[in-house]
């Protein structure tokens, strides 16, 4: 790290200035600092000519360091080779997610909002810095600023032949006041980096060479490694522990009870794990969830037929429309709990003293983590210093309002009196059995078509646990008691159906749940899109034409569907034994359609080819967008093929990647083509919206192949798929 302690303090002071400098999107840019380094809230220019962009959003693989840097670098007219990126500090208002809270108080990464909420803010940051570099050059060369050009990192004055790098001007620019006037941003035709092909990801070299530090890699002098023994059922609490055998293991230094279990601290992970194995614990299971998956499913089915529900969408007269329908289709869909299972297990490192708590972790929800750490320690939020490190995947897991893994780490540091730095890590078993799953869901749908085959009525009951009810997010995501994150994205919202009644029942289950890459759309898109194919088939219509007829007032979705159809060869003959299926979903403001081609090879499902089209507004980094679609297809396909978290008498059945098998190289489609609809609209997200369509596209391809609709996930071991092998 080149940054000195002084400049870092100065940086933090400056970035917390409220109201001074240029305000845009609720964000104040502080004055630049003196010396040879030019620092602003979102970037630093060093004398060696590097430009470091401070990413307010967590890099988890989605490419946000590259994306935010592209916004800054384009308006700065920097050369891509001089750009670096790192995580921003936590706390200053500049780093809030403006999509979730325009006041900037919520530092968070999620909902595919990073590029969307940073589009103007980060470009303004680059343009402001550029204006200050130009001012510095104009003063040095005694020429009018308007005669100065900036191209690929070179500031130049053509008439006098003078040139300077950003690094040469950094010191002078840094001593200038931040301009009061709102800077002018480029018109789209002037972009040099936004939309450009061939930009390498900024994190590519370090990650390819094993040099990127992740949260779990944090090392400090005297560090102790902690693992936590958690109860075997959700809701159990500690009754008693005998730690004598654990403490006898060489390397174990401490065993402490915290609210969530018993922590074993050791000189290394191996000793900590052996120590944990040696604990003898009695749990109080009075409040434990003791039902198994079968009992839960029975309860969900009962609830799906009960009157205990809230209205999500109510329009027209669905009863009358169903009664008048020529064709009616009824279907019930089942979805399992799913674990995020990021390859980097959860971890955090904490150094605790009387007046300060310093934390290193991968985090998607820094503001919540700081408040929760403050609550655990009794310190003020401004005494919590959270460093965000790169995450080895997250998929929503590190954005949890309860801050489970952060709280455990801080509580362990507190319980050991801050005697040593503590790194608490979760094993894979802890991860798969530790809760915070994509909620199990049951959808019950009735749909009706008139004598012309038009979809006139939809009744849908969603039974699935709320995600944000009772959390601080409820103000944003709960409307009239209905959690949008459990209920959004139905056919009633995404297709023009005149009569709809969508209702939701929030079952009371003691299994903790959380958002999982694309949140409600993972299950909502599946029932919706599988139903569409059933409805089309029941009336002899083409699935593409059937959807297009319901999207007459939606030009974006129409364009995406039309594009995916053209590129996938929709309607063209297929070889014998190959099925083709289509699915569409809009989520996070991005419309994605996918066409899958599948075969059954010796009874096993093989997805050969996926064609994907999307409209995400301006394509800031086309190759990152393609990569997110490819990865989302694999991520969604892996879950759809084989993944489920099940319970037996309240205990989670899956333990590791043998019982929760991830997608592997041979499962990946051999061919994926991604087509981006050209657009001048502001950009929307791409980290999640590629996930929802793949499972229904594959299911619809199977339906086309076998004639039997798929109404249950995962596909493997699914009774709906008699030809499909069970595990």
């Amino acid at each position: 790290m080149k940054r000195s302690t002084t400049s870092r303090r100065e940086f933090l002071r400056l970035t917390t200035l409220g109201g001074a400098g240029l305000a845009l999107g609720g964000v104040a840019f502080g004055a630049a600092e003196g010396g040879a380094i030019f620092t602003m809230p979102f970037l630093r220019i060093d004398p060696d000519n590097t430009v470091t962009v401070f990413s307010k959003h967590a890099e988890m693989g989605q490419g946000v360091w590259t994306g935010l840097s592209t916004l800054v670098a384009d308006e700065l007219d920097a050369d891509w080779s001089q750009i670096r990126a790192e995580s921003s500090p936590t706390g200053p208002l500049a780093y809030g997610n403006l999509a979730w809270d325009p006041s900037g108080r919520l530092q968070a990464t999620g909902g595919s909002t990073s590029i969307f909420n940073s589009w103007l803010q980060l470009r303004a940051a680059g343009a402001t810095a550029r204006a200050m570099l130009v001012s510095a050059a104009a003063a040095r060369w005694v020429v009018p600023p308007a005669e100065i050009t900036v191209t690929a990192g070179v500031v130049a004055h053509a008439a006098s032949g003078r040139r300077a790098t950003f690094g040469e001007l950094a010191g002078a620019a840094g001593r200038l006041p931040v301009p009061d006037a709102v800077v002018t941003l480029k018109a789209a035709h002037a972009f040099t980096l936004i939309g450009r092909e061939g930009l390498p990801r900024l994190d590519g070299p370090a990650k390819t060479r094993g040099r990127e530090p992740y949260g779990i890699d944090q090392r400090l002098p005297g560090l102790k490694i902690a693992v936590l023994a958690r109860p075997p059922r959700f809701g159990s609490t500690l009754k008693s522990v005998d730690a004598s055998a654990a403490k006898a293991i060489k390397g174990v230094v401490d065993v402490v009870a915290i609210d969530r279990g018993v922590a074993v601290l050791a000189d290394n992970t191996w000793a900590a794990l052996r120590g944990r194995d040696a604990l003898r614990i009695e749990w109080d299971e009075t409040a434990a969830e003791t039902r198994g998956s079968g009992a839960l499913l029975a309860e969900f089915r009962r609830l799906a037929r009960s009157d205990e529900a809230l209205d999500v969408v109510q329009r027209g007269a669905v009863d009358a429309a169903l009664a008048a329908a020529t064709t009616r289709v009824e279907a019930e869909f089942e979805f399992p709990y799913l674990a995020h299972a990021p390859l980097e297990p959860l971890s955090a490192t904490c150094v605790l003293s009387a007046d300060r708590c310093e934390i290193w972790a991968g985090s998607q929800l820094q503001s919540g983590d700081v408040l929760n750490a403050a609550a655990v320690t009794g310190l003020r939020p401004d005494q919590i210093l959270l460093h965000t490190l790169a995450s080895g995947g997250s998929f929503g897991r590190r954005a949890n309002p309860a801050s489970d893994f952060i709280r455990e780490t801080v509580a362990t540091a507190k319980a050991t009196g801050g005697r040593y730095p503590v790194k608490l890590i979760w094993t894979r078993e802890d991860d798969l059995q530790g809760g915070m799953y994509r909620p199990m869901n049951l959808h019950r749908i009735e749909a009706g078509l008139d004598d012309r085959g038009q979809l006139t009525a939809l009744r849908q009951r969603i039974v699935g646990q709320a995600i944000t009810l009772g959390t601080p997010f409820a103000a944003l995501t709960v409307k009239n008691g209905v959690d949008v994150m459990a209920t959004g994205g139905s056919a009633a919202e995404q297709y023009a159906i005149p009569n709809c009644h969508v209702t939701w029942t929030n079952p009371q289950v003691g299994v903790p749940v959380l958002w999982w890459r694309s949140i409600e759309h993972t299950h909502m898109a599946f029932s919706k899109e599988v139903l569409m194919d059933e409805l089309a088939k029941s009336t002899g219509q083409d699935p593409l034409a059937f959807r297009l007829a319901l999207l007459k007032d939606n030009p974006r979705a129409t364009a995406v569907l039309t594009l995916v159809a053209a590129k996938s060869g929709w309607g063209m003959p297929l070889p014998a034994g190959v099925g083709r299926g289509l699915a569409l979903q809009e989520s996070s403001g991005t419309v994605v359609a996918q066409v899958a081609e599948v075969r059954l090879v010796d009874g096993a499902l093989r997805v050969d080819r996926v064609t994907c089209a999307l409209d995400c507004g301006v394509a800031v980094n086309p190759d990152v967008i393609r990569a997110q679609m490819e990865g989302s297809i694999g991520f969604g396909l892996g879950a759809a093929l084989r993944n489920e978290i099940t319970l037996t008498d309240g205990r989670v059945d899956q333990r590791n990647f043998d019982s929760y098998p991830p997608l592997r190289m041979p499962d990946m489609p051999q061919r994926i083509d991604v087509h981006i609809v050209p657009s001048t609209n502001p950009p929307t997200g791409v980290g999640e919206p590629g996930v929802p369509p793949i499972a229904p596209a594959v299911a619809n391809a199977l339906f086309a192949l076998t004639g039997k609709p798929v109404r249950k996930l995962p596909l493997q071991g699914n009774g709906d798929m008699p030809n499909f092998p069970s595990a």
């Binding site: 990650k207 390819t208 992740y214 290394n268 191996w270 990021p342 995947g393 990569a627 991520f635």
Partner: protein, 155 residues
């Protein structure tokens, strides 16, 4: 006391002989490029080369590898490694990157033994390395791209 040969350097360690090599590398020696993902040889994040062969370090007792040649991602060198890492960077393969050290070591092992792998060869050699971001499509492409830059009879 055990003497390990890590990245062509002798290193003395005083640890439980049953401790898996993974934790010796990460916790004792600070070589954190080798990752923990499952602890059960199911994901490949912990891959190192042992005498040139891709090996899971999370289930390998350190006492079993004393004196043998261990290469971690930090110490990976040579023309095949360079070709693979360049192909990875040029192909924008990484997403979260956590598995990629292991993927690169597996790829270098494959290309060293088989300079022109088929897709089936890649499935077989890389099937043990999990990528939760599912960068497999680009890993396959980068492996073929790296192969094209290497002589058919690789070193």
């Amino acid at each position: 006391m055990l003497t390990l040969n890590i990245n062509d350097r002798p290193v003395d360690v005083d640890v439980d002989p049953a401790m898996p090599l993974l934790w010796v590398l990460r916790d004792v020696l600070g070589l954190t490029g080798t990752k923990y993902g499952c602890g059960a040889a199911l994901c490949g994040a912990c891959t190192v080369q042992l005498n040139g062969q891709a090996t899971r370090s999370c289930v390998l007792p350190v006492s079993a590898v004393a004196g043998q040649r261990i290469t971690t991602i930090e110490g990976l060198t040579g023309p095949v490694a360079l070709a693979v890492q360049n192909a990875w960077i040029q192909g924008n393969v990484v997403q979260c990157g956590y598995c990629q050290g292991g993927q690169v070591l597996a790829a270098v092992t494959l290309l060293t033994a088989n300079p022109r792998p088929t897709d089936a060869d890649i499935d077989a050699a890389m099937g043990g390395n999990v990528c939760r971001c599912a960068t497999y499509y680009r890993i396959r492409a980068a492996l073929h791209a790296a192969a094209r830059t290497l002589p058919e009879a690789s070193a």
